[in-house]
Symmetry: C2
Subunit: 294 residues, 2 copies
């Protein structure tokens, strides 16, 4: 039985055991569902928050057209046996204009930070508010937003929220395109062109697993494969603070951002170090088309 709550107060009631939170902006795809599945396995009570957070949109047009379909989302959350869908009104989230901002220095200095002014302060503030108001024990985020994950981890540690942060593999279409609610705005040609992003990252991941540690070489390979699209950056960055790296000598991620048609896409592969060995996390591919195409 999935309950819909509109206030923080209501959302804190009727918990059993550990509570896991999956923060989302709705318009679910298999990426969100994978987070709900992981949450379901880890905790007795699963809360999915659903709020299109205006604070984190630097572009009003992007906010305006962000896809929304509550009934669809609710049905999908029900199928995942989510206990609570917390869908606050903007009044509950930001009754009067909020004066408080949570900022995480350093982590926002590169990659998405300079390109989306105010975005990460908006994310950090909203996530802090969800953690404060819902008091989860665990929270699940996708590795696709690797810099956001770094930011959330740092904020959680710095503010001593007793929340365990779990980063989950990126979910991809069967051909490699990373799922994103914004993919619905890709025309057929853009859809094909967008594939070069993940293809470039995978080529670089192959190289890294073959022993290449020089950042420059990895960027080169990833950029070359994706040269048909309008690339904003390709960067190797540390997982902990999202700082650019010259060498793959620690847990890191190779990130790419590009404009494809009218859509801005990001993607990455993560490099974890296990017993001194580099292991690439390319994410996981669906067997067939995602729900975004149905």
């Amino acid at each position: 039985m999935t309950e819909v709550t509109r206030t923080f107060f209501e959302s804190r009631l009727q918990r059993r055991g550990l509570t896991a939170l999956v923060p989302t902006m709705g318009f679910f795809h298999e990426g969100h569902l994978a987070l709900m599945t992981a949450a379901r396995q880890a905790a007795e009570t699963v809360i999915v928050s659903l709020f299109v957070n205006p604070l984190q949109f630097n572009d009003p047009a992007d906010l305006e057209r962000y896809p929304r379909d509550f009934e669809r989302d609710l049905e999908m959350a029900r199928a995942e046996k989510v206990d609570v869908v917390f869908a606050p009104s903007s009044e509950e989230m930001y009754s009067e204009p909020p004066l408080t901002r949570v900022r995480v220095a350093q982590v926002e200095d590169y990659l998405e930070g300079p390109r989306r002014p105010g975005h990460f302060a908006g994310v950090a503030t909203a996530v802090a508010k969800l953690f404060a108001g819902l008091q989860p024990d665990l929270a699940f985020f996708g590795r696709k937003d690797a810099q956001q994950l770094a930011l959330v981890r740092q904020m959680t540690k710095d503010l001593s929220f007793p929340v365990t942060i779990s980063g989950q593999p990126t979910i991809r279409e069967h051909d490699g395109l990373a799922l994103s609610s914004r993919n619905v705005f890709l025309g057929p040609e853009d859809r094909t062109a967008a594939l070069t992003l993940s293809a470039g990252l995978f080529a670089a991941a192959d190289l890294a697993e073959a022993g290449e540690r020089e950042g420059g070489r990895l960027l080169e390979v990833a950029s070359k494969v994706a040269e048909g699209v309008d690339i904003e950056y390709v960067t190797l960055a540390s997982q902990n603070h999202a700082q650019p790296l010259a060498e793959l000598d620690r847990p890191s991620f190779l990130a790419v951002a590009a404009r494809v048609g009218k859509v801005r896409l990001i993607d990455n592969v993560a490099f974890d170090l296990v017993a001194g060995q580099v292991m690439a996390d390319r994410g996981r591919r669906l067997e067939r088309e995602s729900v975004l195409y149905r």
Copy 2:
């Protein structure tokens, strides 16, 4: 039985019923004890945090000489039947240099804000961390730090912390001087001069209770009485956002800051509106000398 804890984790264990937090920087006086008494009445579990927070000191010399005496504090907390004294090491509070800052716009624009750069970001960050890590149901603050109280209330609301904030009357020496740990640095002559601050505020409060609503007149009276000391500001400000007011037409406080000898002192009287009537909160006076003189 008062337990001493050093980590957030440990401090969250063994709670019963509602938990009240009294955040302090130690070196207790009757002002702190009054907060503990109020907390003891309101909640089953009382936590007093004791941490001299470097983030909120804009002046390193002030941080350096801030009075500290843990054994004395612990004994006093015991006498107040405090359940937990949370005295974290700086490693527990700020293991690596913290990258996260919580800022509350507007509320920090006047009074103490411009005179103590970084102070309120330090307060907001530390209080958010205590709320996040300790998860109290209530928290007690003195009205003496009226702007801090406004800041904490706003931050709590903006971030949806489920914490009820209680502002408690200023505690004063029998002659009117507001208690402050820094009073121990006042020489005998300074001690006498410092009295003019509260005397000025009381004179203004008398006037307000007699019907005066013009801010300028209240400031004038307060400033005139205190003219022997080096006044930094006398300001009538709103209780909710600490914004300067020309008229006493809402809940507000008349605040004064001054340098007396080597010490910087602040004080205020609060003006609450009850059924349209102005009621001044001058705080409460001790019958005899505070513990600061023993």
